[in-house]
């Protein structure tokens, strides 16, 4: 089974319910799209991520009403360094979509989606704990895995895998 090349043309993908919904709301927030290995990724403007999530959750026909996962990828040393990744699922149609937003390496911060999904609480704490990305508007942003007095962010690429800090 050979891999099909990814599709990155917005025009070809705009029939996908999630993308159509976002384009209808505000085409300016969609930075890029990619359809690869049967999964759709949408890069969303950093400042619009909370609203984009709320719009997708409340979409009438295809509500992406379930936050499956929220995590982060560190692309050190390239900039923008961090990509926060949201995996949404539609409980009614069982479709999935991946939202991504890019963040700079110096004091990365973006708006919390806990007001859209209370379930984002633990996930955002985890990303804060392990990557040092701050979420503004989070009700209880503190370390979740590591001890409270831990220094450094273990899942960053410039953090060593073994040895002493």
């Amino acid at each position: 089974m050979a891999l099909a090349p990814p599709i990155t043309d917005i025009e070809m993908l705009k029939s996908h319910p999630a993308l159509a919904c976002l384009l209808q709301w505000n085409p300016a927030v969609v930075q890029a799209v990619k359809y690869d290995r049967e999964e759709l990724t949408i890069w969303v403007e950093k400042d619009a991520i909370r609203e984009a999530c709320a719009i997708l959750r409340d979409a009438r026909e295809y509500p992406f009403n379930y936050l499956s996962d929220l995590t982060c990828v560190d692309w050190y040393p390239s900039e923008p360094r961090f990509e926060v990744v949201y995996h949404l699922l539609s409980i009614s149609t069982k479709e999935r979509v991946r939202l991504k937003t890019r963040l700079d390496g110096s004091s990365p911060a973006l708006e919390s989606v806990t007001s859209v999904w209370p379930s984002a609480n633990f996930y955002e704490r985890e990303v804060f704990d392990l990557f040092g990305v701050r979420f503004t508007g989070h009700p209880n942003l503190k370390r979740i895995m590591m001890p409270d007095d831990w220094e450094g962010y273990p899942l960053r690429k410039d953090y060593p895998v073994e040895g002493y800090r």
Partner: protein
């Protein structure tokens, strides 16, 4: 003056008391610590503290070759090792665009369902024991022992199996194993009747579970509950049916859904799942195809021992896979499967090298634990035990 640990909590109002439960409490199924704020017997606030079992598996994965990550995934959710193996292998196979032969797929379904039975038996035994029904535990572990013997027979390990590999299975199942599983599968529905005789109609058990730790459908979605916790609240979702993987589309099974949203509803969902799982095992045994157990991809799958001794090429491939790993085309994949606890997702990012750039595990226990506060606030302390049992968390999966 020594500083108080930051996790110590002050009561938020007069007349309440802070009570620590865990991390060494026997009914927390691991090292879960709950900070309860109570007013008399009533809980006004509940805060789970986790991380006691955090081992940095996601970080370790980034330093290993793709095939070396498989044994790490067992250790994440140690009650369903094969489900973890499967989710990871499927994710990498999707990245590679690798096709798996039918026999390997059917064996994966078979072992995966046995894993579900194994996990549900541990849950049922310990959940009933938490609520005071001690006998069920002994019955459940009797059958679990049989399942663990099957695991040992296929992989050499009772718990950390690592039986599924990228591209297929580690070993051919031993002769006579399928007949033994068949015997077990014929007997098992009778065993489930035994458990149900002890619990389902038991007035004490019903009083401890019915109407306790309620979770409405809207809350369940908002708080991100998954698996039987979500189905117990009336949401009809099962990834085996809705997004079939590894050949689940060939199997017929029902998805038990209850609308009550209490501990009893979750109990019924899981017990029904035991029966459905054994049905899938029967179907897998009846239709087991013949053929290879590994994909035909010499650069990715290790060659047979016999070939290595006789063919130069096989020896070279073996050497290269073991010393350098294999490159995976750049890209990313989120593979979600239905674990016994709910949606288990592996998000694997590749940058084209032989080591994964990022592996993230979406643990169902981590998601379900958030629902605990919603369930317990306003309830009694004694019901927290029932609620923890009903969401079936494994702390290894939570903390990773």
């Amino acid at each position: 003056m020594p500083q108080l640990p930051a996790t110590a909590v002050e009561p938020s109002q007069d007349g309440t008391l802070i009570l620590n439960m865990g991390p060494q409490h026997p009914s927390t199924h691991g090292v879960l610590r709950l900070v309860l704020e109570i007013e008399g017997e009533t809980i006004t606030r509940i805060k789970p503290e986790i991380g006691y079992l955090h081992t940095g598996i996601e970080k370790t994965c980034e330093a290993k070759f793709y095939q070396q990550v498989v044994p790490l995934t067992d250790r994440i959710d140690y009650l369903c090792p094969m489900t973890n193996n499967l989710a990871y292998c499927l994710a990498v196979e999707k990245l590679l665009g690798l096709e798996i032969p039918p026999k390997a797929q059917w064996m994966r379904v078979l072992m995966n369902e046995l894993t579900r039975i194994n996990s549900h038996l541990v849950w049922l035994g310990t959940h009933a024991m938490d609520l005071g029904a001690l006998t069920v535990f002994l019955y459940c572990f009797r059958e679990r022992e049989d399942v663990l013997r099957f695991f040992e027979a296929v992989s050499g390990q009772r718990m950390m199996t690592s039986y599924f590999r990228i591209g297929g299975l580690a070993l051919e199942p031993p002769l006579g194993l399928l007949e033994k599983i068949k015997k077990f599968a014929d007997r098992f529905p009778g065993n489930v009747d035994e458990y149900e005789n002890l619990l389902t109609g038991n007035p004490i058990f019903k009083m401890r579970t019915q109407g306790i730790a309620l979770l409405s459908a809207e809350d369940a979605i908002a708080i991100g509950a998954c698996g039987p916790t979500l189905r117990g609240s009336g949401i009809d979702i099962d990834l085996r049916r809705d997004a079939p993987y590894t050949g689940y589309e060939n199997f017929k099974f029902k998805v038990p859904v209850r609308t009550e949203g209490d501990v009893f509803a979750r109990y019924i969902c899981r017990v029904e799942e035991l029966r459905e799982s054994i049905g899938i095992v029967q179907q897998a045994l009846a239709g087991m195809p013949e053929g290879p157990i590994k994909a035909d991809a010499p650069k990715i799958v290790l060659p047979d021992r016999e070939k290595m001794k006789t063919q130069m090429e096989a020896l070279i491939y073996h050497f290269k896979i073991v010393t350098e790993g294999f490159g995976v085309p750049a890209g990313e994949v989120y593979q979600a499967i239905e674990s016994p606890r709910g949606e288990m997702g592996y998000y694997v990012v590749s940058d084209g090298t032989a080591k994964p750039y990022r592996v993230h595990v979406r643990g169902p226990s981590f998601a379900n634990l958030q629902a605990l506060a919603k369930m317990c606030e306003g309830g009694l302390i004694a019901d927290v035990i029932a609620a923890i049992g009903s969401i079936d968390i494994v702390l290894g999966d939570c903390d990773r």
